[in-house]
Amino acid sequence: MTQLKESNRKNETTKLMTLIQAINDGMRLMLEEDERIIILGEDIGKNGGVFRATEGLQEQFGDDRVVDTPLSEAGIIGTSIGLAVNGFRPVAEIQFLGFIYPAYEQIMTHVSRIRMRSMSRFTVPMVIRAPYGAGIRAPEIHSDSTEILFTHMPGIKVVCPSTPYDAKGLLIAAMEDPDPVLVLEPMKNYRSKREEIPVGKYTVEIGKGKIVRKGSYVTLIAWGAMISIAEKAAEQAEKKGISCEIIDLRTLYPIDRDIIAESVQKTTRAVIIHEAHHTGGLGNDIVSIINDTAFLYLRAPIERVTGFDVPVPFFTLEEHYLPTPARVVEGIEKVLHF
């Protein structure tokens, strides 16, 4: 289904882009098209963002549409709420997901609740972009992967693209969504590969996962930076004769339960991979979804290969925190030989 939808991309003019370029491109297109869009955040103007996501945008659109803000996350989100209820469509950058916490109250009690609290009189069509995840040898606190804090928050949607194509498509979908959307951007994937993507506008539907590898013995479920770990593990497993299917969730809330259910009903086994901590991670939600939808199909307990229940360590040790292909392969073997 989702595959079909995206198949028209071949007809369009395309350009080779990294994920971060795709993000930049999505914002540029929307700034051109919709004058309600206003981009704001720390160091996003002249500097073009610490990852260059907003490179060139202030130059092109001026500093009242691409705004450097004070160092104040609650201020950024709180002010965006005011802009959004009053007709604008703010796209706020939080420099790293690990620095979103000072804005947590604003997101939890207002961004996600204004529609409900005002019976849809006031709405907050805003986007929050946040680079997340470990593996780029960043200083401490910069590497958190705490998506569950937002998936457990009715009123907001959460997406997490792993490819340039999905990044642009989901970001544009988020910018057009009538509700607030948190876009989690895997830093590790920012420049890890290039992809031909349409130069024009397109969207990837929020709420739809994608099968990125077809297989029959076990379903690997992942998102963001963990997709490439899943892929490497699947290749290694393939050599051992184990055929893996991989689901890239792409949207973390509302999660695509159907794609999980169908796949696990077929493969009868599942391994979930995420870099967030084991306890309280989104992996548990997926276990529940499988429990609810594929109980009678399941041949082995679901495995979760995740970050440990420890703060993300300093970067010399972060490789020991993050799931690796080897750990995933062990998980795959475990569900197969149960």
């Binding site: 206003i38 009242d64 705004v67 803000t69 004070p70 104040s72 609650a74 201020g75 989100i77 709180g78 002010t79 965006s80 709420i81 005011g82 802009l83 959004a84 209820v85 009053n86 007709g87 604008f88 703010p90 000072p102 109250e105 604003q106 009690t109 207002h110 204004i114 529609r115 409900m116 609290r117 005002s118 019976m119 849809s120 009189r121 006031f122 709405t123 009715p154 009123g155 949607k157 969504d177 009538p178 509700d179 709420g207 809330y253 509302p254 999660i255 339960r257």
Partner: protein
């Protein structure tokens, strides 16, 4: 510092003009308007307390003593302006045009109570303290971007000044020079915590210095001082000069909420020095020939009637709709939520 922020008064405790420069600007229409609204919201407030005692309303946050601050500031607004109130500012929102029945509903645990008339930009009351200050800055910023002359006002208490959001809101507003007025009602207490334990600064007005914005300290029980000073700040904002911080010094006469017992933390005689703002206006009216027994009685009857009608409207309001629990979370309901809703409605159906 205190001397840099003298309390601005136009009328004194005995109802005499102390700033003659306003003599011309005070006319009968304004006086009557102030009186009508202050009486109206006082009637509302006392009724609400009664209803709560009778079990006809949930926990309620009264504002008696703060009528001048709320009415004076709200009357200085234009219809297209934005209001960001707290849970204690329904005196202001009612004056600005929110319906009293809706306001009663709010205190009866009805989400409908958050919804202002379509032609009034009134945000749902902020419950998490100080969170509304950045919202007001943002809404004002939007007006500035559109090039209108509309402003926003954020209401907040003395306790709210301790939260980070107070600081971040004022900082944003000052950096982007947006048309917003931060209107503080310093009523002496944050629940049980007196202002001396809340802050070490002698005034709240002086906190404006941190943001390079004008700050004014006014007698919050003098409805004229409130009205004219707030209006001045609005004009300043409308002319593109940016935000203002106003500290209206007032007094919460009653409990923090109907669940609170102020005798635990306040002495009986505390606050005695504050002359009731309505009495002060009455004195003024008598001193300057605005008092007219007939009009007063008519106004009393009118406001009582309005409040009674609102009570009736509230009590006749349709029962809450279970579907509302689910229907206003997203524009389009995600599948899992739709399933939860359906399953629950089926469950309810089975039980009926």
């Amino acid at each position: 510092m205190e001397h840099n922020y003298p309390i601005k008064r136009i009328v004194d405790d005995k109802g005499f003009l102390v700033d003659m420069s306003f003599e011309q600007q005070i006319d009968e229409e304004l006086v009557k308007n102030l009186y009508y609204h202050m009486l109206r919201i006082r009637t509302f407030d006392r009724k609400a307390i009664n209803l709560q005692r009778q079990g006809r309303l949930g926990t309620y946050a009264p504002f008696e003593g703060q009528e001048a601050a709320q009415v004076g500031s709200a009357l200085a607004l234009n219809d297209a302006d934005w209001v960001f109130p707290t849970y204690r500012d329904h005196g202001a929102t009612i004056t600005f045009g929110k319906s009293m029945a809706t306001t009663f509903l709010y205190w009866n645990g009805r989400v409908e109570g958050c919804v202002a008339p379509a032609d009034r930009n009134i945000f749902p009351p902020a419950v998490p303290i100080a969170t509304q200050l950045p919202h007001a800055a943002g809404a004002a910023w939007a007006e500035k971007r559109r090039g209108t002359q509309n402003v926003a006002i954020a209401y907040f208490g003395d306790g709210a000044t301790s939260e980070g959001d107070f600081h971040e809101g004022l900082n944003f507003a000052s950096v982007f020079k947006v048309p917003v007025v931060f209107f503080n009602q310093n009523n002496g207490y944050a629940i049980s915590v007196p202002i001396e334990k809340q802050m070490n600064s002698a005034t709240i007005a002086q906190k404006s210095v941190a943001y390079g914005m004008p700050g004014y300290r006014i007698d919050g029980n003098d409805c004229f001082a409130v009205y004219f000073e707030t209006k001045k700040a609005f004009d300043y904002a409308r002319s593109g000069n940016g935000p203002t911080l106003i500290e209206a010094v007032t007094w919460r006469k009653g409990a923090h909420t109907t669940a609170d017992d102020p005798s635990k933390y306040r002495l009986e005689k505390q606050g005695e020095n504050f002359v009731d703002p309505l009495i002060r206006l009455e004195l003024f009216m008598k001193n300057y020939g605005y008092w007219n027994d007939e009009w007063i009685q008519a106004t009393q009857e009118k406001t009582t009637g309005e409040v009674e009608a609102a009570v009736e409207e509230m009590e006749k309001f349709p029962q809450p709709n279970v579907a509302d629990v689910f229907d206003h979370v997203y524009a389009e309901m995600p599948a899992q939520l739709a399933e939860q809703k359906e399953a629950y409605l089926v469950h309810l159906g089975r039980r009926d």
